[in-house]
């Protein structure tokens, strides 16, 4: 079994790690996701340093990291680059969210290795819809990959 296969087994698609230093915003995200995806297990990190090391040290990896990239002093980008610098974390999907729609900011996040870019609007319902769209996409995508690997096509209900 090669390294990639070993790592594949450690990814738990039902886990999501939310990197959000603001307790209030973290609460908002928890409210949104607990309603749209009650079957997912949410974990929160309020400090952005050492995220990649923390992921590597855990027995399983979350399927998705939801990262507030709009952190002071470009720390969000640093977290993104740190995660993407570890080959063992390549199967972790990183969805960044930010209150900016600037094309420059989008390009910069994609170059740093983000899998999805979600605009965070002020309106809660709209933000919840956007987060749901991103998580649904990556959950469906993971299901399709699993389906093609084992010959079936599981569809979570």
């Amino acid at each position: 079994m090669n390294e990639v296969q070993q790592h594949h087994q450690r990814v738990d698609r039902r886990r999501i790690l939310v990197v959000e230093p603001s307790a209030e915003d973290a609460k908002t995200i928890e409210q949104a996701l607990s309603r749209t995806h009650p079957h997912l297990r949410l974990e929160f990190a309020s400090r952005e340093d050492g995220i990649a090391e923390r992921l590597l040290a855990a027995p399983t990896l979350p399927g998705l990291v939801l990262l507030n990239v709009h952190l002071p002093e470009h720390q969000g980008h640093a977290v993104l680059r740190a995660i993407r610098s570890h080959p063992h974390l390549s199967e972790v999907t990183v969805v960044v969210f930010t209150p900016s729609t600037s094309p420059t900011e989008v390009d910069s996040c994609y170059q740093a290795g983000a899998d999805s870019y979600v605009y965070k609007p002020v309106n809660f319902a709209l933000f919840r819809t956007a987060l749901k769209g991103a998580i649904d996409y990556w959950q469906d995508s993971a299901s399709r990959i699993r389906g093609s690997l084992d010959g079936s096509c599981p569809t979570p209900r």
Binding site: R35, P38, T101, S102, P103, V106, Y110, A114, D115, S116, Y117, V118, Y119, P121, V122, N123, A125, L126, T129, A130, G133, A134, Y137, D140, S141, R144, S152, C153, P154, T155, P156, R157
Partner: protein, 590 residues
């Protein structure tokens, strides 16, 4: 059959069922998804004596959305999803508008019964089927597989009917709630999109922002095309997945099938929503090869403003039902985007007209003057749609003389432009005739009163007369910021001169002051747009101007005016006024 009160260990008594039903109604009132009721509902139905399994299905016509069955062999019984195809015959089982309960022998279940295999596998001899209508053409079934081939207890049919009422009511509430939430989200989205569109007058950047806002809140992918002549050119694309972004951009620019679809929308068909077979032949849809195979629905809306189609707004949806509930929203969004594009385009056209007209109010080029290097620069106010009133000119005279003038008409717009023309040409004509600077100001003041001008004008006229190896400057001022002289030593002096604004008092008199300019000296004339340039912290450029003149005067004198204008523009937080600078440098070797 034993009375229900005696089946406490293997079934549910009438009293217990009543409690369970109450519990289900409470859960139905809170559930976010109707399937959340399934576990409890199936389990409690399976507790009825003689029940082997419970199987539920949800349909849209003859299309099976999902099927799930209870495996009672497990402890506790497990609810399993199964993958089964629907079939057209199943439509015959649809209940119409109400609820229907029937019994069948398992052996009789044929086409249209994807549950049959599962029911036979657990050994069910007979089934009780309850079919009931849901929303928007959907219907559902609850089927109970029985161990006996005998007719079922009527109480079981009643429970099935009651359970179906709970499910149907729960579904109705959720559908209504979701529709309400969807409207709220759409309203919020349109508000956000409008803010984004109002924030910038750069069309392409605005559309890129709108596409990014829409993904994934509206769809998995978004494209915006604009008409350029007969062509539709992609200007923005956004995909939920970073690694699909380039595929989407390539599809937007080079796919012939998509181009045809966009053209259909633009050329009269209006809003299009394509799915299923309508996607065949293109790069999208279940039958397509490659990345586009996940796309289920494509929507295209024309961007129409003031009767013209400006382009198209396209969305790619990965779920069948995503787009069908929002045609009005998509049309609203397209209309708002079209209006924003139209406004931006008109703005840009008008601004170009302003810049062009402004240039016509200024000299095309400065004259050549022996012994002097002249430079000028002009910066139109940011975002201004009106012609400003700054003007300058340089008029050569006999014997190496040259007159420089600079001025500013209060305000902007057509009237200011007319006065600018009057002021500049009056002064120029008089100076060409050799009139002294102070005299030209008197004559211009009289002309403004004669024309009943309602705006004030400031002006500064400098006549440079060769003297020795330099020039003598005769400076006449009518309410204009005094010029600065930068000596060859870098020292900067202000030329103290003043006079009434033009157009205030018909009898105003003007005098001039003299300043000697030696080789290497520079004279700098400017309008108040330079001195009143304001930084974010509230400071004015006026205090920094002498330093800037000292510094910039050390460089190539051909670009001195341009460097000073740039210094002022870089300093200010916003450019609310035009800036004009006219500079003369005395050559060191004549």
């Amino acid at each position: 059959m034993q009375p229900e009160t005696e089946v406490t260990n293997c079934g549910t008594s009438a009293a217990r069922w009543s409690e369970v039903l109450h519990e289900l109604w409470s859960a139905a009132d809170r559930a976010e998804d109707v399937t959340a009721l399934a576990g409890r509902l199936y389990t409690v139905l399976a507790e009825f004596p003689g029940v082997l399994t419970v199987v539920g299905t949800r349909w849209h016509g003859g299309q099976l959305r999902y099927m799930r069955g209870l495996r009672t062999a497990d402890s506790p019984p497990a609810l399993l999803d199964t993958d089964q195809e629907g079939c057209a015959e199943a439509a015959a089982r649809a209940p119409g508008s109400g609820t229907r309960v029937r019994e069948h022998d398992t052996a009789d279940l044929a086409a249209g019964w994807p549950e049959a295999e599962l029911l036979r596998a657990v050994g069910a001899k007979r089934v009780v089927e309850c079919v009931f209508a849901l929303d928007a053409g959907d219907w559902a079934s609850l089927v109970i597989g029985l161990v006996s081939a005998e007719p079922a207890d009527p109480a079981l049919s009643l429970r099935l009917r009651q359970a179906s009422e709970v499910v149907a009511t729960c579904n109705r509430r959720i559908v209504t709630q979701r529709e309400h939430e969807r409207r709220q989200v759409h309203d919020a989205f349109l508000a956000e999109a409008s803010l984004q569109m109002d924030a910038s007058l750069d069309v392409e950047e605005t559309l890129q922002r709108v596409a990014r806002l829409a993904v994934p809140a509206v769809a998995e992918g978004c494209l915006l095309h604009l008409r350029q002549g007969p062509r539709l050119v992609p200007v923005a694309s956004a995909h939920i997945a970073a690694d699909r972004q380039s595929w989407l951009a390539d599809t937007a620019s080079g796919d012939a099938w998509l181009t045809q679809v966009l053209r259909r929308s633009v050329e009269g068909e209006g809003g299009l929503i394509l799915s299923g077979k309508a996607l065949v032949g293109g790069p999208l849809g279940a039958k397509a090869a490659g990345v586009g195979t996940s796309v289920r629905v494509l929507s295209v809306n024309p961007l129409r403003a003031r009767g013209r189609v400006l382009g198209t707004l396209t969305f790619l949806f990965h779920h069948e039902d995503a787009s069908t509930q929002m045609p009005r929203f998509l049309a609203d969004l397209a209309n708002r985007a079209a209006l924003a594009i139209d406004t931006s385009t008109l703005y840009e056209q008008r601004r170009q007209h302003v810049v062009s007209l402004q240039r016509h109010l200024l000299p095309a080029e400065l004259p050549h003057s022996p012994g002097l290097v002249l430079s000028s620069a002009y910066e139109v106010a940011d975002d201004s749609l009106d012609v400003g009133g700054d003007f300058y000119d340089a008029i050569p005279g006999p014997s190496g003389r040259i007159a420089l003038l600079i001025g500013d008409v209060c305000g902007r717009g057509a009237e200011a432009a007319a006065l600018t023309g009057l002021a500049r040409h009056t002064l120029r004509t008089l100076l060409e005739d050799g009139s002294p600077g102070a005299h030209t100001l008197v004559r211009l003041n009289q002309a403004l009163h004669r024309e009943r001008a309602r705006r004030f004008v400031t002006a500064l006229v400098v006549t440079l007369v060769p003297e020795g190896d330099g020039f003598r400057a005769e400076v006449a001022n009518a309410g204009h910021p005094p010029p600065l002289v930068r000596r060859a030593s870098s020292r900067v002096e202000r030329v103290e001169c003043g006079g009434l604004l033009l157009g205030v008092q018909s009898s105003a008199a003007y005098t001039s002051v003299s300043v000697d300019l030696g080789p290497g000296d520079s004279l700098v004339l400017f309008t108040d747009g330079l001195t009143e340039a304001r930084a974010r912290d509230g400071r004015f450029f006026e205090d920094l101007l002498p330093g800037a003149v000292a510094r910039e005067g050390a460089g190539d004198p051909r670009w001195l005016a341009g460097r000073l204008v740039h210094a002022g523009v870089d300093f200010r937080v916003s450019g609310e006024d035009d800036v004009a600078v006219l500079a003369a440098f005395v050559k060191e070797v004549r």
